[in-house]
């Protein structure tokens, strides 16, 4: 006698906890997209990211403060309008987070 699993042809997705070393077609496409992103990154962009990591590490307060001031390395390539938008977004985020921190 055949079990339900044997008669049901629908494959069930592997749970995230199951080790899966062979990439799925979607994962292969994601890998290819990542590869393109790494290759398209210019030396200046790589240097900016490395500088950001060296300066701020994983300190979100200092990183946001620098963006609000327009001095974050990732802002080097921005045009004037994008720079201003990023400064406003960071400043607004700082203000909202400060308000949230006070109310906690």
């Amino acid at each position: 006698m055949r079990t339900v699993a044997e008669t049901d042809p629908t494959p069930s997705p592997a749970p995230a906890s199951e080790v899966r070393l062979v990439p799925t077609p979607d994962e292969e496409r994601v890998s290819a997209a990542l590869q393109r992103r790494r290759e398209q990154r210019t030396p200046a962009q790589r240097e900016a990211i490395a500088d950001a990591v060296a300066r701020y590490g994983d300190d979100p307060d200092r990183a946001l403060q620098a963006i609000a001031e327009g001095t974050h390395p990732l802002q080097r390539d921005l045009d004037a309008a994008a720079l201003e938008r990023s400064q406003r977004l960071a400043a607004a985020g700082n203000a909202l987070d400060a308000m949230a921190a006070r109310s906690e």
Partner: protein, 131 residues
């Protein structure tokens, strides 16, 4: 989710000079479980959910998070047929605020909903005022 923990771990390793990811598979198992729950049945929410879950765990990836989190989220969006209309500075702002614990899922979901558009779709610009 269209990527599993083993693929995330392998891809993160490609960003490390040593070739070895600075975190464990468990980090990504947890992140993907959270992202899957946040995404629900809406595949369009997948990039936002993945971004939120990975951003919260940025410290586990060390400095590589600065490169990897925006890249993997853009790559996943691309495979799903979308692009994220935000430069890396904007994503850094969101990630830093998520790390501080004050930018929550509903806000991230809404921000991505505004910034996600089908690949090749024209940029949305504000309508001109009638004279």
């Amino acid at each position: 989710m269209i990527v599993g923990p083993d693929r995330l771990l392998a891809e993160l390793g490609r960003y490390a000079e040593s070739g070895r990811p600075p975190t464990t598979r468990d980090t990504f198992v947890e992140a993907l479980a959270e992202a899957e729950q946040l995404r629900g049945a809406d595949p369009r929410s997948e990039p936002a959910a993945l971004f939120f879950a990975l951003a919260k765990r940025s410290r586990a990836m060390g400095g590589l998070a600065e490169y990897f989190v925006p890249d993997i989220v853009r790559a996943v969006a691309e495979v799903l047929g979308y692009e994220i209309d935000a430069d890396d500075v904007v994503l850094t702002i969101y990630r830093a605020r998520i790390l501080r614990g004050f930018l929550r899922w509903p806000e991230v979901h809404a921000a991505f909903a505004e910034r996600l558009r089908p690949i090749g779709a024209p940029e949305v610009t504000a309508p001109k005022r009638p004279r």
